[in-house]
């Protein structure tokens, strides 16, 4: 029975599917860089470092076998972005897909926005299962018929054909970002969207590609004075005039586009005072927010920094209403993590359908489910070892120090190359998509 995405700990998660190559030799281009369900949850899109987008579609449930939950199968694959070269700066522009965002469905076709560091593209994904046959001037293979041989006219008719899914680029929004795009967000008005880079946020109209409005600009006149960058931005799910953006200093600013054309002055500033007992050289780096997501009901927002997830009430700026530790055992390892650059990893986070549970990734292919309503949390692992169909995932525990109990893994044994940065939760059901380096795991709620 598909609930509205209920509690994370009543729910037992079991393996459903894994996508991607099995061998350990990971091709750089196959590294998954973004995962996103569409608004109905029927489609699941992934973007990778090679600039490709792969869309999976949920098969309609088999009513005769209720325990066999519907599977996601490849629906469409296309090359969204190609590598480019900036001749002015002599630098490569990566084709890696940074973000994918679906547009709400308006007609038979599906639309999504995909972006790399510099360019955003609007893709139309449409199905074709009929084709016209019986043209007068053309043969079936496309060759033109000699007009002299035509003696009678006929009306072409549509005949069924094998389903073909076509992806075509409908708009290209280019040349508006000097710095690297980190976020895109579709507005609730379904007409505009924002794109954010390190220093600026632009507002676009989906129909217009040669112009965008700059709504936030934090570039200082003197670049030497730069101490803070924009790390993520998102539109409010219901209020089309409201958006938030997070910074590398751990602050979130909420802006109202009705206040002024340039939203440099925030309406609200969300910032938690630093805990002096935890201060270290890395305090600022670990406070940098890597992701910000509004709750579905629009009353809360969630931020992810290096060690924790915080839930903020939009009406309270002084501190978050809830804070969850993701992997506090890493606090004593920050120097090593600074050395190997892991401290700069940008983890994402997501809400479940009814905003009662949040999920985020960690290292060693672990991911965390944080149940807000029951104040409980669980650590699960996406691994090849638990890949039997409907195998229930066992909770994992990390031993921070002292005696390691059975089934616990010690901090020093964690594999920091196996990181789960991108996760997504089906908007209505308890189905989650978890991306390891080059594999996509799909887990579902155990159905008895």
């Amino acid at each position: 029975m598909a609930g509205a995405g209920g509690g994370g700990n009543d729910v037992q998660w079991c393996f459903s599917q894994v996508k991607g190559a099995i061998d350990d030799d990971v091709a750089e281009a196959d590294i998954i860089s973004t995962v996103e369900f569409n608004h109905s949850g029927e489609l699941l899109a992934t973007g990778d470092k090679g600039g490709r987008v792969v869309i999976f579609q949920q098969e309609t449930e088999n009513k005769s076998q209720p325990q066999c939950r519907s599977e996601y199968n490849v629906y469409s694959t296309f090359q969204s972005h190609e590598p480019e070269f900036d001749y002015l700066k002599s630098l490569e522009i990566e084709e890696k897909i940074n973000k994918i965002r679906w547009l709400p469905q308006k007609n038979a076709a599906q639309f999504l926005l995909s972006t790399n560091d510099k360019t955003i593209k609007l893709w139309k994904i449409s199905e074709r299962d009929k084709r016209p046959e019986g043209y007068n001037l053309k043969e079936e293979d496309g060759r033109y018929r000699d007009a002299a041989t035509i003696t009678a006219l006929r009306v072409p008719v549509f005949r069924p054909m094998d389903l073909m899914v076509e992806a075509s680029p409908r708009r290209v929004f280019a040349n508006a970002h000097t710095y690297h795009i980190n976020s895109i967000s579709v507005n609730s008005d379904n007409e505009t969207y924002l794109s954010a880079d390190d220093l600026r946020i632009n507002l676009w109209h989906l129909e217009i590609t040669d112009r965008s409005f700059n709504i936030v600009d934090i570039k200082p006149a003197n670049m030497e004075e730069l101490t803070e960058v924009i790390t993520a931005a998102e539109f409010h799910p219901h209020q089309c005039n409201t958006f938030v953006y997070s910074s590398s200093k751990g602050t979130i600013r909420l802006c109202d586009m009705r206040a002024s054309a340039l939203c440099d002055k925030h309406s609200k500033l969300f910032e938690e005072p630093e805990d002096p007992s935890n201060r270290s050289f890395f305090s600022e780096i670990i406070s940098s927010i890597s992701d910000v997501k509004f709750s579905h009901n629009g009353r809360y927002m969630m931020t992810r920094d290096y060690l924790s997830v915080k839930i903020w009430d939009l009406n309270m700026e002084s501190r978050p209403v809830e804070t969850y530790q993701v992997h506090e055992y890493l606090r004593s390892k920050l120097c090593s993590l600074y050395e190997n650059d892991c401290i700069f990893d940008k983890f994402e986070c997501c809400w479940n359908g009814n905003d009662s549970v949040v999920m985020t990734g960690s290292y060693n292919n672990f991911f965390r489910m944080l149940d807000r309503s029951q104040r409980r949390d669980v650590t699960l692992e996406a691994s090849r070892e638990s890949c039997k169909p409907r195998q229930v995932l066992k909770p994992r525990r990390v031993c921070a120090g002292g005696k390691r109990k059975k089934d616990e893994i010690s901090v020093d044994s964690l594999d920091f190359n196996k990181k789960i940065l991108h996760t997504a939760w089906h908007p209505q059901e308890n189905i989650i998509a978890v991306a390891t380096t080059n594999n996509l795991y799909i887990f579902q709620e155990k159905v008895n």
């Binding site: 390190d198 730069l226 890395f282 120097c335 993590l337 190997n340 700069f344 020093d412 920091f416």
Partner: protein
């Protein structure tokens, strides 16, 4: 203009925090952090050596300061290394650069703060000589193309009376008319002023400081992603610095720097030993 720096004063009640620093510096690096970038492999040796020496000194309370110092030094070295290593063919990540630069500024702010307040309880032990030249060698090894200290050691800048601004009783030791010595003091302090907290307090530096070096040319390079390479920028800087000196010095080289270091070792021995 510095950002909002996090000032940290090393007071007795802060010892818990210092112990925390020790714990993090002496804990083993994660075994599976096998990063493919060459920068981390070269820096891991320096950080592991510093962490092992910090763990050996962690027993005595007087060296708890040393543990903190070592971690700060490690972070300083790592930050410098990261800023000077080009990550790949693409543009460097601006967010990462800003965070590393802020960390560096924080450490520099701390060092400046310690310079101005000579802490009487910090002993100028013989151990500090070894660690400080090791640290310098580390910086030099990590940034061979830059040669930060080399830049300043050859520039015959008019060093103002560096002892004049200090309140320390030990300042008298520095009133050495030997210009070469004062120059070396200033050059050493530029890279690692923490060691001069007790007896040497060259708080006033000449034309160029670490700040200027890092945050003018390098910043413009990093933030604007201009086509200048690091070596080109530093060549420019060397010419600028050489030109500003009262006597035009030839461009620096590591040879000169190493000679200076040896001489400095000897002088430090003399000063500190007494």
């Amino acid at each position: 203009m510095l950002g909002k720096g996090l000032k940290r004063k090393l007071e007795p009640e802060e010892e818990d925090g210092v112990m925390k620093m020790e714990a993090s510096s002496s804990s083993p690096s994660s075994s599976s952090s096998s990063s493919s970038s060459p920068s981390s492999s070269s820096s891991s040796s320096s950080s592991s050596s510093s962490s092992s020496s910090s763990s050996s000194s962690s027993s005595s309370s007087s060296s708890s300061t040393g543990g903190y110092w070592f971690q700060r030094q490690t972070v300083l070295n790592l930050s410098l290394l990261k800023l000077h290593t080009r990550p790949g063919p693409g543009e460097p990540d601006l967010a990462r650069t800003v965070l590393i630069t802020n960390t560096l500024r924080h450490i520099q702010h701390e060092l400046r703060g310690e310079e101005c307040v000579p802490s009487p309880q910090t002993p100028s032990s013989p151990a500090s000589k070894d660690s400080f030249s090791t640290a310098l060698a580390d910086i030099e090894a990590l940034c061979p193309t830059v040669g930060i200290t080399a830049l300043f050691s050859t520039s015959d800048q008019d060093v103002p009376d560096i002892t004049s601004g200090t309140d320390s009783d030990n300042a008298g030791e520095l009133r050495d008319p030997d210009a070469h010595l004062s120059e070396m003091h200033s050059s050493m302090s530029l890279s690692d002023s923490a060691l001069f907290t007790s007896s040497h307090a060259p708080s006033r530096l000449a034309d160029f400081s670490l700040d200027d070096f890092l945050f003018t040319e390098i910043d413009n390079f990093l933030f604007d992603s201009s086509s200048l390479s690091v070596s080109m920028v530093t060549d420019e800087l060397v010419k600028t610095l050489a030109g500003c000196g009262s006597q035009s010095a030839p461009p620096s080289n590591n040879q000169t720097f190493k000679l200076d270091l040896n001489e400095l070792d000897h002088i430090m021995e003399v000063l500190v030993g007494s």
